[in-house]
Structures are given as structure tokens and as C-alpha cells.
Symmetry: D2
Subunit: 338 residues, 4 copies
């Protein structure tokens, strides 16, 4: 960590700071500039808080050199991590995995029907929301436990593992028992109690990026899960909030090479939420695979115009099948399979 | 609600839509344009979901005319709401209320000391975090229950009601019993289970704006609490995330007149988080009062450079006292007291 | 255009508005709601300004149904436009075109050397800035006319058409005479005098997206050029400004299918500025082609660490050659050539 | 400037870098860390480009300690600058100055009428656009030279100096001759040729912040003007672009104390463009004064609903007069006059 001091800092304050950091087991080196002085702290600075140091009135600037995450850090874990979701392997050059299904589970039969269709088209994991985070208290909030049980039934009939969003710690047992991959939604990316809770299980976790989360904050949320004991984290980009109005969110595909450089964890892309418009899903899906994504999670519905939520971004099965065909070609072009 | 249909929509599809909306008890009026047709839906459209309607391939556009919130809506509740926090009244032209105290509770004695100081300077409510949402799992996470008990002790000694952040439903009873004003933090503004839970109590709630929440989404989160039965909601702006790097967040002061126009609830401003820099807190605090805010919540610390979190944005007691003096003059200039 | 009136609008005001719009040759239809009334305006509303209508105190809301652009609108020009840059055809399923070269022209020999290298690797158009928009007045501002002449020399030696940024109307003649494709930079996307000036020539224009421009504003800037008489416009996405700090800008790849849906003009992607980091350029380039882009514009430099500007995002020739190889495979996977 | 090198940087590369910087007259100091090495450069680093240094593959990170601006920097110019606009003094504790008038000049008589009204109400400078930057080529583009002459006439009749926006270098002489304060609009904040051109005059310049400009970029644009020889620069905040939809832009009032800390130049606020809604203008104006602004620039129109541009954000004269009354009280509360 590099700390810039104001030139006029009294020597007694400088000495106090040196003493403070040395007391934490850090080695302090110093550079004298014309208008400032600089401390370099050598040692493990992960526990230091930049903003606390900045509170000192003689400090001008603090720069972290070492990333604030350790368990997720590729520097300390050079090999790619492969996450196993009930037999489906994700990450590290494994075949690209497609997760698909309705935004919300609406009925057992509807779910099983679409599950069969997306499986035939090439999906390997079934998605479906049982608990739905909705902006309005007057919107459909999901079927709850009944929806989870419908997912279990669909898995029984199709053999596909299931992924669903957990919104609250008190449903954790239900999810550990019944769901193969626990999704943490964008709105809960910094619900730290929930992160710690899933971190105490060994279930794979699909960690969506918060709407306005920096990549570093996102990695820190993965670090929360890993620091609680669960190494099975998959990142899922779903677009960030910007000023643009033609799309629901702005897909940030540079995250794929960045996360692969900074961490060792798999990266999945959600083109449905990122764009909010089924007409854009195919183009963005192909782009994601070309960028190196390890998987896609795509909303499909047999009758999008009747969907209880997010019909606008749901693909019909035949369009989904077409997407998978094209995705396979792009995957091969970049040296992957699907 | 105004729905624009594509010009080439087949009559059978148009009829189906009309039938669908009429089945929901809405009256449907129609305008024929050159390149489009328009439905006007007359009746209560609060339960309709724009994005579901947009899923219909013949729909070009949907515009909500009526706001999607009812209980928070000034149209249906023209009188200003006053929220009573253990005797301190907030809103509706009541004196401007100042809440102050440390970011995090760090020790009973430290808390009681700063509580006395901010009280002497003019604060009426004591703030202090017992559970802290921290980006890093390696940062100080708060004293937990011990911190809540320290707040109780500080209240006993000073007579000031206390406000503290609730991060998780399983601590709700602890907060209902011990805290006067429950804060829902920015990261949990759309933690809907938590909103419903505080909605089932009758404790006043300080609802912070999410980092990238639109004003409408923020009002909808208030609506969640109110729809669960609790009308005692106070909005708290703490800045939004933008590209600007000189401040931690960008304070959006236009929210004050907007919220006062669209809702009947009180509005409080948090200049400490909005700017992230104690040197900016005074100017922004005075601006907030001039804009019509009903209160301020400000971080203070006796030794900011030793604070376990956010020392950088904490005021020392003497600077806080100076701020209150100036704030009083501005309040009077806009016809309020403090 | 759909105009929502407040329910309490006096009849005399409503009649005045009807009269006003009918006087503009528009047909006015009306819907009566419970809490509002709605006008539908039938006819050409391109010249109406939403914000002027909103200035009327009885107007609640204005929604444009028809897009505000005409010449760039696919609805009125269903065929894809192909722009011919001195023999290189861009758009409409033509082979993907790669433009490459240094950020700034630094010397004639250096430019000719890199030009030969990118040509051998597969680039068809040479890029190079002679006039450079720099944040600091103390940074290298480009070689000016000398740089333009160096581009002319490089074209002579390699046969490649050249693209360069025009920053000011007074250099227009120099560019019309010497440059094959005139670039309008992000900072000048709404320099309307410059847009009108290039619109009065018939040179192809590469119109970069402003840092915080919506897609609609960007199309409107193309409309300025086209309305001045020049139909040869190519869009170029170079990333938008967001809160994310790991990349210089956030690449918005959804623009590719959106622009192809709403307009008939070609779309090129600039991965160098979008990411600001050469290590990310390859992944984002492949993604762009998979998304359907008609071309790429990429910064290359023989000695990036010695570049006078933006060395950080410049590829060395061998990495560029590798990128082109991979890009060719992705282009073929999506049914294009390169 | 602090440069962090990767630990595995070969000694020959490190030596080359040291040699490079020493060749530029800088002194190089070094800190050795466990995982990295750090250079501290001592001397004038204003001419160094961070991104060029980052292009070196062995460089991990670059941090600028000294601000990249000199002439605008308070560190080298501790006294507040007062800008004199034809006798009206702005900055440095002078009375708060109010500029008001129509968005666009529409007719001589209309302009003179509103000029008299805003003068009576307390405005000291008359605003009015003769050249208008409009998103659409089909919108009213301003009266041009005729509009400038109308401003001259209004000044003759009222004695008020006038401010108007210059969009293009070829109108510079017209503005130098006829206008008292030259406005550079948000869209041209980084039109560097225009900045250099006004920098070569000695006219006061009102420099608006770009829609997505950081404060540092904004100061750098002031530095362009100053480095060309013109020290008379006034900053004008007009809101930045964010995701929020209830306002046209998001007013960032923290710029007032920040600019006053980092620079010595006056700061004016434009609440009309910042909010885009006349109903919000008063609250935001009072807030701006409380925050320490040196002036306001406000749009007024006798018949906003007939305005050719931006009627929605224009105040009627009586509301403007009321605003000035309240503004005076707030100015006094913070120790200023108006």
C-alpha cells in the first residue's frame, strides 16, 4: 500500500503513523518528494481500510497495490477452478454450459414442458425462480416452496440440475436440500448475511453482479462466500445500470477477460436481464461466448406474452434452439465445445 | 396506462388484448394513428406489469400514466406525514432534526462521550452502527448485540432516541426492542424480505436510497413497507453512484422537492456518505436544509483517524457544533427552525 | 405522439391545445381516463419538441411513438446501406473490415512501418490521428498537417485508405482532400457545426458515440450529417462512461443489434478505447464480430511503451495478427467473411 | 508520481525506466515491497501521461500525486480570483450574481420585455441563446447573428451585460465584439479548438461542465483556456448524466466546495438545465447558494408554454422574483449578499 503524506505534515505525526503501521507488523519505506512524502507499506495489507487511513488529516492519498481479495485471487491460486453442479462441470475450458428456463416458475406442468424443450435444444441446467424480487409489492412474488417443489419434479422428469434464486437466509435449508445451484441475485450481491450463510454450505453458488457494483466489489462478495468456507462460486454478469434507455441494463462483456485474469473462478453471462429484450438475446449470447464465457443463463417461455414476469426478455423454444445452434459454432471458433 | 400497438397488428390479436384487459375490469379506449394504434386503459392499473405487456410482439410501447405506488402517493394522501421517533417529530414543517454519532459503535464509553458532545451541539437523535455492511469480509463487521446494548446505555445517559442499521431479519426483535428508528441501508433497499419484515412492525423506518436506485424504485420500496402495514417511513438520500471520482457518491438534492411533490413522507439527507469527505459535509448540509430537507444524519467521531470505519467522512465535535450553528441560520432563512 | 393531460385541466386550455396542434396540420384524438385525459397526435411529429409541450402546466406527460429520425430510420429505408471507403465496402453482410494503426501519427517512417505490418496481418484501412483531442493542454496534441501528409504517404506505399479524426471545421478541406474516411470523435459527437460541415461533403464519416450519449442521441447526430446531404455514415461504438474503474470505458455491444434494427447504417466497434487495455482487446473484438459488427478499428504500435498517446491500449503487430486469425474464425462462425 | 512495478520486472527493464525518467529531469526514488517495487518521481510531472507509462508491460499501476493542472490550481494561486463581467464582479465573496433570461432569443421585443422583468426582480446579467445546440436537426437552431444583435439591443435598453453560448470558432469575433460573457456549453467542454480560441481572447468565459465530465477533466478544460492566455474563467455546473429519470440531469452540488478547494476560480450553478423542470428550480437554487455558489444562471420566459426551446424548465417572471427574494435570505444566512 502506498500512502502519500502532505508536505507540511509535522514530524511527530509522521512518526506516529510509522509507529502505528510497524505495530501492525508492516515494514515502512519512505520517499521524499518536493511537495509530498510517500510511505510504502510492505507486508499483508488486506486488513487495512484505505478510508480509515485517509481520515488522518496529513494523508493526501492512499493507493492499494495488492488486491484486497485473497481466496478469489489468481495470484495465489493460478489454476482455473472448475465448479461441479451435480455432475455438470463449469469453468476451465470445459464445454460451455447453457442454463435455460422461465424467469419465474408458474406451474408444474408449464415448467416441465419448457424444461423438456430447452433440454432437447441443448440446455444442461434448468433455471426457474420460485422467490421473485419484484420492484412492486403488487407484482407476482413467486410460488415460493411450491415453486421449489416444481423444480424438483422437473429435475426428476428431465434429469437436469436446477438453479434458483435464494432471497433470504430462512429458506437456506430448503435450497440446500432441493436446488443444485443457488443463485444470489443482483439486489442481494451485498446482502452480507446471505453471503455468509451460503458460504457455510458447500453448494455451488451463482453470484450475480449488483446493478452498480464495480468488478472489485463483486469479487469481494465472492470472497465473503469463500472466506466462510465455500469455494464453489460462479460469477454471473447480468448488465449494469447506465443512462442508456434502449436496453434494460448495459451488458459489460469486458468482465469475462478481466475476471479470468484476476480470479480463477468460472464466469457465466445472463443476456436476458442484461438486455431486457428477447430480440437482442441471440447477438449478445454469441458475443459472450466469443469473449470466453463459461456459460449462459437464458430465459425461455412457451408463451412469453402470458408470462407472470419478464415475458419481454424471454425466448420461445424455437428461437432458443436456433441460438444454441449458432452458439455451438461460435464456441468451436474460439476453441471450445458446447 | 397507454399502450401503443404496431400498425400491422392483426385484428384478432388486437381483439384478444382488448378482451384480456376488459377481463381485468379495465375500460379500453382506442386512438388510430397513421403508423400505430393506441389503447388507453381506464381504471386501476397498479397491478399491471409494463414488461409483461411489452412481451406481446404486437406491442410497441407502454407508458404508465398513474404512478405505480398508492400508499406513498401524495395524490391519495395530500397531507404531509409526521413521523414520531420516541417523541421527536420529523416532517411537515416541524423543526429540522439532526441525527449524529459515529459510523460504527466501537465502545460504550466512546459512544457515550460522543453522544454527549453531539447532544450539546444540537443533535436530537443518536446514530451508531452495531451491524456494519462492509465490502470486505476482512474489515470490522460491527460489535453486534453488544453495540446495540451500548446504544441503549447511551440513550439512558443522554435521553436521545437512537437509530441503527438492521441488516438481517433474524435481528428484528432485538431492534424492535432496543432501537427507536430502524435504518434500512442502501445495499438492502431492495432486500424485499427485510422490507416486509420491518413493515410488519410499527417502528419508524429510515429508508436509505440504493446506490443506483431511481427515485421511483425507492418510493416503491417505501410502498413495500407501507403495504405490509407500517406507515412510518422516512426517506434518506445518501448519494448515488456515478462516474465522478472526487466524491464517494454524488448527492442528488433534487430528490427533496421531488419526494415532497410525489409523496407525503419526510426526507432526511446523509451528507457524510454522499460525499465521503468530512471537508464537504458542511456545505452539503446547508444545501440540504435550503432545499427543504426535514433532517440530517451526520457522522461524528472524537478521533476520526482512529475510527474503525469511515473516519474519513466523520466530523470532529467542534466542527459539528459549527455546522449546527450555520444550519440553524439557513433553516431560519427558509422559514424553518432547528 | 401521446400527450397526457392533468384531469383538472380547464376546458379552455384543452381547447387551446387542440387548436394549437390542429394548426400544425396534425389530427388530434382523445381518450378520457379517470384521473387524466390523453391526446393522440396523428401525422408527422418529427418537428415537435417534447419538452416544449411539457412546459404547459396542464400537461402531465409526453410520449413519442414515432422515432425522431427519418433519414437514418430503417422504417423508411429498409435496405442495409453499404458505405464505400475508396473501394472498401462496409456494411450489409460485406466482409468484416479491420482498420488498424497507431493512436497518433508520430513520424512518417514509424507510420509506414506499422502500416505495412497491419496490412500483412489483414487490416484493410489505416488509422492514425494527426489532430489529437487530449484532456491536458500539456500533452502531445498531434502533428497536425504533417501527420495528415504522413498518412497520405503511408497510403501511397501500402495502398490502404486512411481514416483520421477531424476536430475543427477549418481543417475540413485538408481532410476532404487527403483522408478517405473522416472520423468524428466522441467528444465532438454533438459539435453540431462540425456535423453540418461534414454533412455538406460526400466523404464517408465514421461517427463515434459520445461518452455519455444515448443511442437515440447518437442516431440524431447521424441524422444531422444526413440531413445536410451526406448519406455515408458509419457508426462507431467506443464504450460509454460508467462507474466501473477496471476499464477505461464500458463497451456496450448491444448497440450492434439495436442499430441494425433501428437504422440501415453500418456499425464498427473500437475495442481499444472501449477497454483502454490491450490485454482486453482480443476478447472484446471477437465478441463484437459475434454480435454482428461490420468492422473493427484497433490501435497498434510497434513500441507501445514509447507511444506518445494511449500506448496502454495499443497492440503489438504480432498480437494484432493473432487477433485477426481468431477474428476470421468467429466471422465465419456467424456467416461472414473477413 | 508513484509508479508500481511488477515484482518480476527484469532489472534491465527497471534500469531502462529509471534512465528514461532521469532523462526527463526527474529524480527517481525506489521502495522494494514483497510483491512489487515502487518508483517515486520527484519533480514536475505535469507533462507525463499516466497511460503511456501504463503501456509498459512491467508497470502495474500509476498514481498521480500532484494535480495535472497548474494555472487553475489553488496551490500555486492561493487568492480567490474575481472575474469582472463588464463591471459585475463574480467570485471571492462578492455578492451572489444572478444571470437570467430566456433559453433562446426568439425576438427583440420578447427579449427586451423579459430582460426588464428579470432586472426588476434582481438579475444583473442577461442570458439568451442565439446559437442553440439541439439534439435534432429539425428543432429550432437559434436566430444566429440576429439573436446576438437582439442581445446588444436589450443591453442598451437595460444596461445589463449579456451572456450567450458560442458554438463555433468562426463566430468568435462576433462574440468578442458583442457579448460580455462567452458561454462554452456542456457539449463543447472538450472541443479543444474552441477552448484554445477563447483562450486567445481576454473575454470572461463561462465554462459549463460536460454531461459526463469528471471534475478533474473540467478543471483541465479551464486550464486549456488559461494556458492560452485568458485567466477569466468561471465554472458553471449544469448537472451530470445519470440513470435517474425524474430529472433531466443530476445536479452535483458538492462541486462548489471541491472547486473552491482545488482552484481559485468562481463557481456558478445552472439549476434550470440541472433539473430540467421549473418546479424544482427554486429549491435547487437556494441549495446552491447555501453550498457557497458565486452565482446562478436561470431560464425565464414570459410564456414558457410558447418557448421555442426548453419551456419546461423556464420560470415565469413572478416565480423568478419570488426565488430572488428567498435567495437573498439564504445568501445572508451564509454570510453573503445578493
Amino acid at each position: 500500500m502506498i500512502i502519500t503524506l502532505k508536505k507540511n505534515a509535522p514530524q511527530v505525526e509522521v512518526d506516529a503513523l510509522i509507529h502505528h503501521f510497524e505495530g501492525m507488523g508492516l515494514k515502512v519505506n519512505m520517499i521524499h518528494g518536493d511537495n509530498w512524502n510517500v510511505f510504502g507499506l510492505v507486508g499483508d495489507t488486506t486488513h487495512l481500510d484505505e478510508r480509515s487511513i485517509l481520515a488522518n488529516q496529513w494523508v493526501e492519498n492512499v493507493q492499494r497495490v495488492q488486491a484486497p481479495y485473497k481466496l478469489a485471487n489468481r495470484m495465489f491460486h493460478p489454476e482455473d477452478t472448475v465448479v461441479d453442479v451435480s455432475g455438470i462441470k463449469i469453468g476451465a475450458g470445459q464445454p460451455v454450459v447453457i442454463m435455460a428456463g422461465p424467469c419465474a416458475v408458474e406451474s408444474k406442468e408449464g415448467l416441465c414442458e419448457i424444461a423438456q424443450e430447452v433440454k432437447s435444444a441443448g440446455a444442461e441446467i434448468l433455471r426457474g425462480g420460485a422467490y421473485k424480487p419484484r420492484t412492486s409489492p403488487y407484482s407476482f412474488q413467486g410460488l415460493g416452496t411450491e415453486g421449489v417443489m416444481d423444480l424438483v419434479e422437473a429435475r426428476k422428469r428431465t434429469g437436469m440440475p436446477v438453479v434458483s434464486e435464494l432471497m433470504s437466509v430462512d429458506k437456506l435449508d430448503e435450497f440446500v436440500e432441493n436446488v443444485d445451484l443457488i443463485q444470489i441475485g443482483a439486489r442481494n450481491m451485498q446482502n452480507f448475511d446471505l453471503l455468509k450463510a451460503v458460504g457455510r454450505t458447500n453448494k455451488p453458488v451463482l453470484l450475480k453482479r449488483g446493478m452498480s457494483a464495480t468488478i472489485e466489489e463483486w469479487i469481494m462478495s465472492a470472497e465473503y462466500i469463500m472466506a466462510s468456507g465455500n469455494p464453489n462460486v460462479i460469477f454471473c454478469e447480468r448488465g449494469i445500470r447506465t443512462f442508456e434507455k434502449y436496453t434494460r441494463n448495459t451488458m459489460d462483456l469486458a468482465v469475462v477477460p478481466i475476471l479470468k485474469d484476476k480470479t480463477h473462478l468460472p464466469v457465466v453471462i445472463d443476456p436476458s436481464h442484461a438486455t431486457g429484450d428477447w430480440k437482442l438475446v441471440k447477438a449478445v449470447s454469441l458475443a459472450a461466448i466469443a469473449a470466453g464465457a463459461d456459460g449462459l443463463i437464458i430465459e425461455c417461455h412457451n408463451h412469453p406474452e402470458m408470462a407472470l414476469s419478464d415475458g419481454m426478455q424471454s425466448l420461445k423454444p424455437e428461437k432458443f434452439a436456433d441460438l444454441v445452434q449458432s452458439a455451438r459454432k461460435v464456441a468451436e471458433a474460439v476453441g471450445r465445445t458446447l
